[in-house]
């Protein structure tokens, strides 16, 4: 409970606690996870907020993300530069949204951005095809992929404009009880 750590100032820790779903201990533990990815790049003293950005290759090599087919999109969505190179803030943000306590709306928002490969704020057919390919790799034939995309569009597209907007996506997520438990990474 005392101020035994010198990595962050008390105000920084308070700020992190207020803005993420983590407690103090978890934030420190996450910091050490972040640092373990590249001990020579990440200083032990964050009190003056150094600008340290870990490249995507290091983030993508974390055991929690290594085999996840969407790891690149996850890193891109949560990183400031959009390329997957993450600062500590981005790192904490990512795991906070993917934690157990994040509410459904927040998770749905970021899930939408992850599945939106071309970043146009809509999930169009090509995004859907890319998602399916990442999900199933080579298991489905071309025809089956096309059929699945069509059916998904039929089911989820409410205003019939041929692509899913954020509202369509959220409407579908509300009806999926498993979303909260699957869109969750334990760290």
């Amino acid at each position: 409970m005392g101020n035994k750590q010198t990595i962050f100032t008390a105000q920084q820790l308070d700020a992190y606690q207020d803005c993420t779903y983590f407690t103090r201990k978890e934030i420190l533990r996450l910091f050490h996870r972040y640092r373990d990815l590249a001990p020579q790049l990440v200083p032990l003293d964050y009190t003056n907020q150094p600008d340290v950005r870990l490249p995507y290759e290091l983030i993508g090599s974390m055991p929690e993300l290594k085999d996840n087919p969407f790891r690149q999109r996850i890193a891109e969505v949560f990183s400031e530069d959009g390329e997957g190179n993450m600062t500590l803030d981005d790192f904490l943000d990512m795991f906070s949204v993917l934690s157990e306590m994040a509410p459904r709306d927040l998770k749905a928002y970021y899930a939408f951005k992850i599945y939106d490969f071309n970043n146009d704020d809509f999930i169009c057919k090509s995004d859907l095809e890319k998602t399916l390919n990442k999900l199933t790799r080579n298991e489905l034939t071309e025809d089956e992929v096309r059929m699945v995309c069509e059916k998904v569009m039929d089911e989820a597209d409410l205003d019939n404009d041929g692509r899913l907007s954020l509202e369509d996506f959220q409407h579908m997520i509300v009806r999926a009880p498993d979303f909260l438990s699957t869109f969750h990474i334990r760290i």
């Binding site: 407690t23 699945v148 039929d154 041929g162 997520i173 009880p177 498993d178």
Partner: protein
């Protein structure tokens, strides 16, 4: 190039802006109506003859697309048949600009939109805490929208991003601490920006805490609040570090997924329930009694089977009902047995404490169970079940927790198979299987059900006869009254026969049911799951019913015939034995079912298939064990200790066996629905049954006359009544309490009334849910209509733009390509 030739009136917004980046949106963010005005103004201002002459042709051109649409749509019976669009329309750049500035497009990424949205939400939260001002007194831009999701599109009040941010920061300041933290965490901005928002919100002078401040004590209160917050955070950290088995659960979920994880999470939940019961009972019952032990004639015989039978040495210990005294415990006041007055003394009314502690423990457990059940139900309930399965499978089925490579591969295969099945199911025309096939399927199912129900009934009857036989056997042994060591040992060992029989039936019969279910065919795997669970549940419920009848209906009524002074202690010992046997048999099952089976299939059968972890069966075992623990609470206050130890052992054993011997399940497992279902099972048959049995015991059965806290009374319930009467006698002002007790608590009419009101409330709520379902359908239709409107308006816009470019080759092409086909209308 065509873009430059289009001139818009006056609006600098629509000049050369590349609208690729939504950060430019503050330049193009304008209202739709204003734009339409501009278009029509432009149209009327045009001077070229071609435009005028084209007015006539515009009509025909407008009809042409509708004609072409009609042509393409004519042969199609239903909308669902229209698949990919025949044409991919190219919109002009002007139209593209208009489209990109539509309000619905700007909700996604732009910071301005997010800030507006959260400004509205914070406005609502602020509003809730103040008295409600009239909505007219606010300017249009500040009026909160109904659902908080709409972006302000007020052209008159053109908000720049900084303004929005300012206002959001202002709102954040006015919120209370908790609300601010909650709002900050939920805003979908990057952490960096959130920290800046927070800093601005906290930095503004004079507004860092609640509004009802007395300025003179502000400094002290500020420090108190800060100290409180720090201690609250450290308490949360401590609690989260207590997160039992966090790494173990992570490893399990990483390799086996959410389905198997739900079993272990359920185990942990049960552990917490039992720890709570343990604390309550220890604090209020065990400790006071252990400090003031009664003088019983103890005859400790050590047989060596004590740990298994719970009798012998343990029989007269604090573990069982018989140890507890029926008088008020007082502090050492020359060892008086009854209440004496010796100045200031601590008195502890043991019977009352026993009665109320058990009652309170059950009541609190009930509330916690119902609360967690309703929470879980709320998360997993879907109002309309039929649509959207495929979309949900695509977007929500990838389990992000799975980390092991082989499990990832397995998950991928599973999802592909499920997608293929779903697509095939959706595509398949209704194949009406012939009458003969349906009849044969039905008869096979009927046969299977008959076998299962028959075997369950048979086993229940067998246990009934066996228990009667053991009862008679015990009577004989007691009557023979030979005190040789062997006969006593045999007597103790014979007590183990019934638990062994019941546990072996519990172990073997579900396997038999699974074998029978092989020959059946079910439409969906979840239906198969439910059927298996139901059969298993039926078996366990009937066995427990027979046993409860045996204890409460046979042993309790004539305890003397089996030589029992204290039938409650005997029943407590029985329950202890059952719990222990259940644990032993589960360990044996894990060992044989998983470890040896894996060895067998690998060495002998030479297959790589490891056994699959049967989630449903294991969860039902847990529920069965917990039911026994709840049943035994009245008779054995220390039973939660046994249950806690058992659960701890079970966790590590199951986890080790899982990691070494099992493979991930191949069938889909809807984790959250199943979790809801299991908590419901824990609440309804299990807890309710235990509570009913305990209530029946307390209400009807005569307690033993010579042991326990309720000796001498007619029913255990009378302890409470006696206390109330005693209170009324001592304190004449409390006579209403007796009245209340007689007419409200003892009178069943009041309970019927309460139950009736409860049912009516539930009925009303279900009607509300039905109404909401209808509203959802109507709203979906409305959204579709709005979508059609939008398409129509945009194509009209396009035609207007087309007319402004008299010699554009695209227009000629565009006219013939304007199809109102469903599906991808624009590819941008």
């Amino acid at each position: 190039m065509a873009a430059r030739s289009v001139s818009f009136d006056a609006d600098a917004h629509f000049m050369e802006t590349g609208v690729e980046s939504p950060l430019d949106e503050d330049r193009v963010h304008d209202s739709f109506t204003q734009l339409i005005h501009e278009q029509s103004r432009d149209l009327s201002h045009t001077e070229t003859m071609e435009m005028n002459s084209f007015d006539l042709e515009e009509e025909t051109r407008d009809d042409f697309p509708s004609l072409s649409c009609a042509d393409s749509c004519a042969g199609v019976p239903e909308e669902a048949e229209l698949t990919d669009p025949l044409v991919e329309t190219c919109w002009s750049t002007a139209t593209l600009r208009v489209l990109s500035s539509m309000p619905s497009r700007t909700i996604g990424r732009s910071r301005g939109a997010i800030l507006s949205q959260y400004y509205n939400r914070t406005m609502q939260m602020c509003r809730r805490r103040q008295s409600r001002p009239s909505i007219r007194s606010f300017s249009r831009s500040a009026r909160p929208s109904i659902c908080g999701y709409r972006v302000e599109t007020d052209a008159a009040n053109f908000d720049r991003e900084e303004n929005k941010r300012e206002r959001l920061v202002n709102n954040l300041q006015n919120l209370s601490e908790n609300d601010r933290v909650r709002m900050l965490r939920a805003i979908p901005l990057s952490l960096h920006e959130k920290r800046e928002l927070r800093l601005s919100a906290l930095r503004k002078p004079g507004r860092s805490f609640s509004r009802n401040e007395i300025p003179c004590c502000s400094q002290l209160k500020y420090y108190i609040i800060i100290a409180f917050r720090h201690s609250w955070y450290s308490w949360l950290s401590f609690l989260s570090s207590l997160q039992l088995w966090q790494t173990a659960l992570k490893r399990v979920s990483g390799r086996f997924g959410t389905g198997v994880l739900s079993y272990f999470v359920f185990l942990r939940t049960l552990l917490f329930f039992n720890v709570f019961l343990l604390l309550v009972l220890c604090l209020f019952l065990v400790v006071p009694q252990a400090v003031r032990p009664p003088s019983l004639s103890a005859s400790p015989h050590l047989y060596g089977l004590e740990l298994l039978t719970g009798a012998g040495y343990f029989a007269d210990s604090v573990m069982y009902y018989g140890y507890y005294s029926n008088y008020t415990l007082t502090k050492a006041c020359n060892g008086a047995r009854n209440q004496t007055s010796c100045g200031f003394h601590l008195s502890y009314n043991m019977p009352l404490a026993y009665f109320f502690t058990i009652g309170a423990a059950f009541f609190i457990t009930c509330i916690i169970l119902v609360y967690s059940m309703s929470k879980s139900f709320g998360q997993s309930f879907r109002i309309d079940r039929s649509k959207g399965l495929l979309a949900m499978k695509v977007f929500c089925s990838w389990d992000f927790k799975v980390t092991k490579k082989s499990s990832v591969r397995l998950q991928r295969e599973n999802i592909s198979i499920q997608l293929k099945e779903l697509v095939a199911e959706v595509n398949r025309k209704e194949v009406k299987s012939s009458l003969l096939q349906r009849l044969s399927a039905f008869s096979i199912q009927l046969l299977a059900w008959t076998i299962c129900v028959g075997s369950t009934a048979g086993c229940a009857y067998a246990i009934y006869c066996f228990s009667e036989y053991m009862h008679k056997d015990l009577q004989i042994r007691v009557r023979s009254s030979s005190n040789t060591k062997e006969s006593l040992l045999l007597k103790e060992a014979s007590l183990l026969a019934l638990p062994v029989a019941v546990s072996s039936i519990n172990l073997l019969l579900p396997g038999f049911f699974n074998t029978v279910a092989w020959m059946e065919e079910y439409d969906s795997p979840s239906k198969r799951n439910y059927v298996a669970i139901f059969r298993n549940l039926m078996l366990k419920v009937s066995l427990l019913g027979v046993l409860c009848y045996h204890w409460l209906g046979r042993v309790a009524l004539e305890p003397k015939s089996v030589g029992l002074e204290c039938w409650e202690s005997f029943v407590g010992q029985e329950l202890y034995r059952f719990l222990l046997m259940d644990f032993i048999f589960t360990s044996l099952d894990t060992f044989f079912g998983e470890f040896l089976w894996r060895l067998f299939s690998q060495r002998v059968l030479k297959k790589e298939r490891k056994p699959v972890f049967d989630i449903a069966r294991n969860v039902l075992e847990l529920i069965y064990g917990q039911t026994i623990a709840w049943l035994g609470l009245l008779f054995t206050p220390l039973l939660p200790v046994v249950q806690v130890i058992k659960l701890l052992f079970l966790f590590y054993m199951k986890k080790t066996s899982l990691m070494r011997n099992c493979q991930a399940p191949r069938k889909p497992w809807r984790a959250s629905q199943m979790t809801t279902f299991f908590i419901t099972l824990l609440c309804f048959p299990s807890f309710l049954g235990a509570a009913v049995c305990v209530t029946y015991t307390m209400w009807t059965i005569k307690p033993s006359a010579s042991c326990g806290p309720f000796q001498g009374l007619n029913t255990m319930f009378q302890a409470g009544k006696k206390w109330v009467e005693q209170l009324a006698k001592d304190n004449p002002r409390l006579t209403w309490l007796t009245w209340a007790h007689t007419y409200l608590v003892e009178n069943p009419f009041f309970l019927f009334l309460a139950a009736g009101i409860f049912l009516i409330v539930i009925y009303f709520h279900s009607q509300v849910v039905d109404g909401q379902r209808k509203i959802i359908e109507l709203l979906q239709e409305q959204i579709e209509n709005e979508g059609e409107d939008k398409k129509f308006l945009i194509t009209r816009l396009q035609t207007i733009h087309e007319q402004k470019r008299p010699f554009s080759p695209r227009r000629v092409r565009g006219a013939s390509q304007l199809g109102l086909s469903r599906g991808n209308m624009w590819t941008i």
